[in-house]
Amino acid sequence: MDNFISSFIRISNNLVSLNGAPFFRGSAGEEFEGFIKQVYKSLGITYSTFYKMDNLSKLGFIAAEILLNTEKKIGFAPEKTGIFFQNSSSSLDTDFTYFNTIKDKENYFPSPAVFVYTLPNIVIGEICIRNKIKGENSFFIAETFDPEFMEAYVEELFAHELIEYALCGWVELFEGNYEAFLYFVRSGKKLSENSSVKAKLHSTETLKKIFTE
C-alpha cells in the first residue's frame, strides 16, 4: 500500500516555510542563535529545556515542533511513530565547542551538559521526549540529503508494519550554516481514515521536489 507525506517544513536562511509557504521570517542578518530564539518565542510555548539544547537540537526541535503541531490536528500515535534523520556534519558543531573546553591543559573544564550533545541522535531524543515518540529511530550521516535511501528505508519499515507514522528528514548545522528539511509520512491505511487530508505520495520524486520548494 502507498504511504503519504502529509506535511513538510524547511528552515534555512532565517526563513521557516511550512508546506512550501512562508511561516516565519527572521530579521535580516540575524545569526542562527538569535533567529531560532525568535522562532521559539513566536510559537508561544514554554519549554525551558529548549535553552539547554545545543544548536543542532534547537534546529531539529523547532522544525519538529511546528510540523507536529499541524500533524496533531489530524492526529497520530506517538508510540507508533519512528524518527529518521540524516545530516552531513554529525554533531561536529558541538564537538568543537566541547573540544575547546579540554584542549588547553591550563584551562581544562569539560562539561557534561555540553558533552551529552556531542552525538547527532540527541536531537531525536529531544523530539521523542517532547512528543512521547517511542518508535524506531536512526540517525544517518551522508554528504548530502539522500532522498532515494531515505524513501526506500522508511518504506521498508512501513511494509513490515514496524511503524505507522514517520518523522523524517535532513537536520544539518555546522559553524553558522544550517538547513532543516523535515517531512511527516503516514501509512496509506491510516490516511484513508482521514480522507480530508491533502497528502503527497511518499516517493523519491516527491522528496526531490519538495526538498527544493
Binding site: 547527532p120 531524543g125 529531544e126 536512526s138 528505508y153
Partner: protein
C-alpha cells in the same frame, strides 16, 4: 520473507585481531582493561582497553602504508580485510553495500580537521575495497552497531543489495575520556557489569565487521527492533520499558518464541543506572533465567564497535557451544534476578539476543539464529 545470513566476521580489540584469538581470553575470564598513564590524552591515569599502535601498524602494513591512514582507519580496514579472507562475498561488487557504525569517527583529528566528517571516513574504507556504492553511515550513540546490522539486514531483504559489509569502530581519545569522566561515569578500576560493586564504565577501542548476505550460511540475522524511551537524553529509563519494547519487537520480527533464546549478550556498561534498567527490561521480557553476560569487562565499551563486536563473539560462542563469563562479575548488584555467568558455560544453543542502549534514550535488540 527472504533470510539474511552472516557470511563472515571479525573482531579487533585489545584481546586480539580475530574472534579465535579473542576467544582465548574470554573463556579464561581475562580482561584487557589496563591502567594507562598518558598525559597527552588524560590529566589523570585511567583504566581502558586500548589497541597497541605498533601491533596494529604491523598488521596493517600487509595492506597499505600506515602513515597514510589514521588509527581508526587502520582498525576498520584491517578488520574488514580479515573478514574478507573468510568469505567469497565480493567486497568490490555493485551488489555489496558498506555500512559504517561509529559514534565519533576520527575524533583525535579534530584539531587538524582531518577526515573528521563521518561520511568521508566511510568513503576511505569503501574505496579501499574498491566499492563504488555510496556507503551508509549510522551514528546513533551506543546502539549504532546493533542498528547498523538491522539496516544491513533490511537493505538485503528489500532486494536493494545482495550483501552488506557492516563494520564499526571507535577509538579511546581525550574527547571521550574527559566526557565520560565529566559525567562521573568512568570506573576507577576495570568495569564490573551487573556487579554490586560496579562504579561505572571502562572505555575500549575496537573495530568489528560482519559480512551479511542473502547467500546461505550457518547463522541467520533473524530479526531486530529499535525503540526510544522518550524519557531523558543522558539517563536510561528507570523502568526499562523502552528496551523491553525493542526486545519484544525483535522477538516478533524474528518469529521465534522467547523460550528458544539460549543466551543474552547484554549491553552491560557497568554504570549503576544502565545495568539496573537492563535488568528490569529483561525481567519484563521473561528472560531473567537465560544465561547472560556483558563483554565490556573484557574489552571495555567500544562505543560504535560494541554492538558489532559483541555480536561477532556471540556468534562465535554459539558456533562453539559456549557462553563466556561476564568478566568483573561476582555478586549481583541489580534489584531483580538475572542469570549472569561467572565461569565459562559449555552447551549448545540455537539462538541468542544482543541488546544495546544509548544516550538519546535509544534501545536496540537483535536476534541471531543457527540456520536450519
Amino acid at each position: 520473507m527472504k533470510k539474511v545470513f552472516v557470511s563472515s566476521v571479525n573482531a579487533l580489540s585489545v584481546l586480539g585481531f580475530s574472534p579465535q584469538e579473542t576467544d582465548k581470553s574470554l573463556v579464561r575470564n581475562v580482561s584487557g582493561i589496563k591502567l594507562h598513564e598518558k598525559p597527552e590524552i588524560s590529566p589523570l591515569p585511567f583504566y581502558a582497553a586500548t589497541i597497541n599502535a605498533e601491533k596494529l601498524q604491523a598488521a596493517f602494513k600487509e595492506y597499505a602504508n600506515p602513515g597514510a591512514y589514521s588509527k581508526l582507519e587502520q582498525m576498520l580496514i584491517t578488520s574488514a580485510k580479515l573478514a574478507e579472507k573468510d568469505t567469497s562475498i565480493p567486497f568490490s561488487s555493485a551488489d555489496t553495500i558498506f555500512i559504517l557504525s561509529t559514534t565519533k569517527g576520527n575524533i583525535d583529528q579534530l584539531a587538524a580537521r582531518k577526515g573528521i566528517k563521518l561520511a568521508e571516513l566511510a568513503s576511505v574504507v569503501a574505496q579501499f575495497f574498491k566499492n563504488k556504492n555510496t556507503p551508509i553511515v549510522i551514528s546513533n550513540a551506543c546502539i549504532s552497531g546493533v542498528a547498523a546490522l538491522l539496516v544491513g539486514k533490511r537493505l538485503i531483504v528489500s532486494g536493494k543489495y545482495k550483501n552488506a559489509v557492516v563494520l564499526g569502530g571507535d577509538i579511546v581519545s581525550a574527547f571521550t575520556l574527559s566526557g565520560f569522566q565529566s559525567f562521573k561515569a568512568l570506573s576507577p578500576g576495570p568495569c564490573k557489569p551487573f556487579d554490586e560493586k560496579r562504579e561505572g564504565l571502562s572505555l575500549g577501542e575496537g573495530a568489528a565487521t560482519l559480512v551479511l548476505s542473502e547467500k546461505e550460511s550457518g547463522v541467520v540475522v533473524a530479526g531486530g527492533g529499535v525503540s526510544n524511551d522518550a524519557n531523558h537524553i543522558s539517563g536510561p529509563s528507570r523502568t526499562g520499558d523502552g528496551l523491553f519494547k525493542a526486545v519484544s519487537v525483535a522477538i516478533r520480527d524474528a518469529k521465534i518464541n522467547k523460550e528458544s533464546i539460549g543466551y543474552v549478550s547484554a549491553h552491560g556498561t557497568a554504570t549503576l543506572y544502565n545495568d539496573e534498567m537492563e535488568c528490569k527490561a529483561l525481567n519484563q521480557a521473561g528472560l531473567s533465567n537465560v544465561p547472560l553476560n556483558s563483554l565490556k569487562g573484557f574489552v571495555g565499551h567500544t562505543l560504535g564497535a560494541a554492538g558489532l563486536m559483541e555480536s561477532v563473539m556471540g556468534i562465535y560462542a554459539m558456533e562453539k557451544s559456549r557462553i563466556y563469563p561476564s568478566c568483573g562479575y561476582e555478586k549481583s548488584g541489580v534489584s531483580l534476578p538475572l542469570n549472569v555467568i561467572k565461569e565459562s558455560l559449555y552447551g549448545s544453543f540455537d539462538c541468542f539476543l544482543k541488546t544495546a542502549s544509548g544516550f538519546g534514550g535509544c534501545n536496540a535488540a537483535l536476534i541471531f539464529q543457527k540456520n536450519g
